[in-house]
Symmetry: C2
Subunit: 404 residues, 2 copies
């Protein structure tokens, strides 16, 4: 049985017109193969639901919270099925508990464990299209769980992986770009990109795909692509294994994220075990620390220790660090939240030297100070003042000739 998995994001089901437009894309595919559709909630709906829950509790019970916000996808799925059936495309909406889509037990950031492939195959026997809600599943206690922001991408890839099918993500942009076209108008659409590069771009702020969905596609070797639901005829971006990407650019894209914060602890005793006293409690508090930088003081006894974290977690992290002050032992705590991170990504970096040099030269010429640097095999990330973000992205895009 030939199966395609199509995922439509919030803006692609955000209105009656958008749902009908996306339905036409589904009808077209259904003439060539069986189709499983994964849908997000109508754009804005999940935010509306989250705000509603906040009217009743600042920190809602996670079981209740997932029950409330998962209603969004169920509605868009039911509406899509109504329209497809009305258009004589035989369709059925399957709830996550009907299939089931099993997830890990925790709420609000659950992970998909398994999808009942045989049940879906069986249902597809007599139907053209199955519609499955993204973003949710049920756990072993038969409670509804949600996968966290952007989780519908992961749902789609998980369904595709389970069915050994190709996954097409329909969204409101034409594909993955060399950088944000809002900042660099001549940014170019990338035709093919490796999983590894896409993973770095996604985790460094390119918002087209959720990081976990790319990770999963890479692990399962699922054929994945991104297209625009507004221009469905245009080939978007194909995300595939490195070997299939013929033209290996040194740099493929530039991502940035503005929601970073930095904490610096001055005069921390430079002794083994100190890091764990800082990062242990933060990790327990569910705070993901990103970059860590340590400058040894001249006398060799003390160090200044800086680390970055999501801006949303800054207050919570400061509270934890202050509470642990006597155990850690530091002089001052300095925090800033007007910083941003820029990442230059490309598999070609592996074989081409000089990427770091070009980066430093470009920023130096433009008097942009680099606060922290981290590198991986296919990525260089830097931390700069937030006010320089746009300038840095523009100049780097130009320096790496990504517009060509």
């Amino acid at each position: 049985m030939k199966i395609k998995v199509l995922k439509f994001g919030g803006t692609s089901v955000g209105s009656v017109e958008a749902i009908k437009r996306s339905a036409n894309i589904i009808c077209d595919w259904s003439k060539k193969s069986k189709v499983i559709v994964v849908l997000s909630a109508m754009s804005g709906e999940t935010d509306r639901l989250i705000n509603l829950t906040k009217s009743f509790s600042k920190s809602p019970n996670p079981v209740d919270f997932d029950n409330a916000i998962s209603t969004g996808e169920n509605l868009s799925c039911a509406l899509m099925s109504i329209y497809l059936n009305n258009q004589k495309t035989k369709s059925k909406f399957l709830h996550s508990w009907q299939i089931p889509i099993m997830t890990s037990s925790e709420h609000m950031k659950s992970r998909i464990l398994s999808i009942n492939k045989n049940f879906l195959l069986n249902e597809l026997e007599n139907l053209d299209v199955l519609i499955v809600p993204g973003f949710q599943g049920i756990n072993e206690r038969r409670e509804i769980t949600t996968l966290g922001r952007g989780g519908s991408d992961t749902s789609a890839v998980a369904v595709a992986a389970a069915m050994d099918a190709e996954c097409i993500i329909y969204t409101d942009v034409e594909g993955v770009f060399t950088t944000d076209p809002n900042i660099v108008p001549n940014a170019k659409k990338i035709n093919k990109i490796s999983y590894e590069e896409m993973l770095e771009l996604a985790s460094q702020g390119a918002k087209v795909l959720q990081t976990r969905s790319v990770e999963l596609a890479m692990r399962k070797n699922t054929k994945l692509s991104v297209r625009s639901s507004l221009k469905p005829k245009k080939i978007g971006t194909i995300i595939t294994d490195e070997e299939s990407v013929l033209e290996k650019n040194t740099v493929s894209g530039i991502a940035y994220t503005k929601d970073e914060a930095k904490i610096t602890l001055s005069r921390v005793l430079d002794k083994p075990g100190v890091s764990s006293k800082i990062f242990g409690p933060l990790s327990k508090g569910n705070i993901n620390v990103d970059m860590i930088l340590q400058n040894i003081s001249q006398d060799g006894k003390f160090a200044n220790l800086s680390f970055t974290l999501p801006r949303a977690d800054l207050e919570k992290a400061l509270k934890i660090i202050k509470k642990e002050k006597s155990k850690i032992g530091y002089k001052k705590i300095i925090s800033s939240n007007n910083i941003s991170k820029i990442s230059v990504v490309g598999v070609g970096m592996r074989s081409h030297a000089g990427v770091a040099q070009t980066l430093f030269d470009t920023l130096g010429k433009n008097k942009i100070n680099i606060q922290v640097i981290t590198t991986s095999e296919i990525k260089i990330s830097i931390l700069i003042d937030e006010e320089h973000t746009d300038l840095a992205v523009k100049k780097l895009h130009q320096a790496f000739k990504l517009h060509k």
Copy 2:
């Protein structure tokens, strides 16, 4: 285990404030017994959802339709549970598929077949409050079904019956009144009324309770009452068996409905089998005919046949009757939709004669023409011109001294 079943209608969960107000009532009860709460969707939500489905299809696929409109109760239940847990009242929302609430197989007008009592008892062991969505269940194909308009009342009574518990319906009025207070400002709240009377009032247009819920309570002898969620301290109306109603009024209440239509077929052959040729096809078309009146013509061969039906079904009924014209054999078809039905209800009618006389006298004095009359043991219904509805209700309320 002492259990109370509380049902809150759309207006009682229609806003953040309303949900919090109703939650306080639940918290109070939960100090005295275990509580199962049955909720409607937030007021206006079900209409919004129905309208949304109509944007995609004039006659949506019933499975899809039920999936779409059942999202409303799920949201109000989840929000209520968030607030109760926030208020330290241990609460859990149980989906109809989790319990399960099993219904008959058809959609949009399903009937509850069974509710898993032991599952609910088990869940109540460790909780103060269980929250259950009204209006819905699942069928043997594990599809979500809905019970039809006002079905949440029936859900509540069904849960109460299954748990051998008392059922309190919280709504936006103080109880059942002798007639509509919008027409008769000095209408009185009824303290106690028998199931039979309530059933007649509900089916004849008193909108406080859904007919099926009263029917079910009567069959299961479930203790049922209606209260205002705005004035929860006030005792509302208790609906109970006839023996428990001490003061047996000749007339308990007057109901009316304006959504009636009448069809008259002139010169129908007065022969056996003619009725089934008319009412058979109507019944197949799912049209409930209410009153039927037949006047034999002078020659004894032909009759004029009139019947009433819901106004919403008039067009459909006319189409059916016209299609069957050759089979039925009639001369003319006349329809009117500006008529209303008024019903005078009371168990005391059984023993007191003279109710009909008072009714005819009152309407006669006020020059209101009666088109059709039907009677049952505890009810007299009449059909009049719609424009006289308010006047007739007022004058009858006075004549039967219901304000005293």
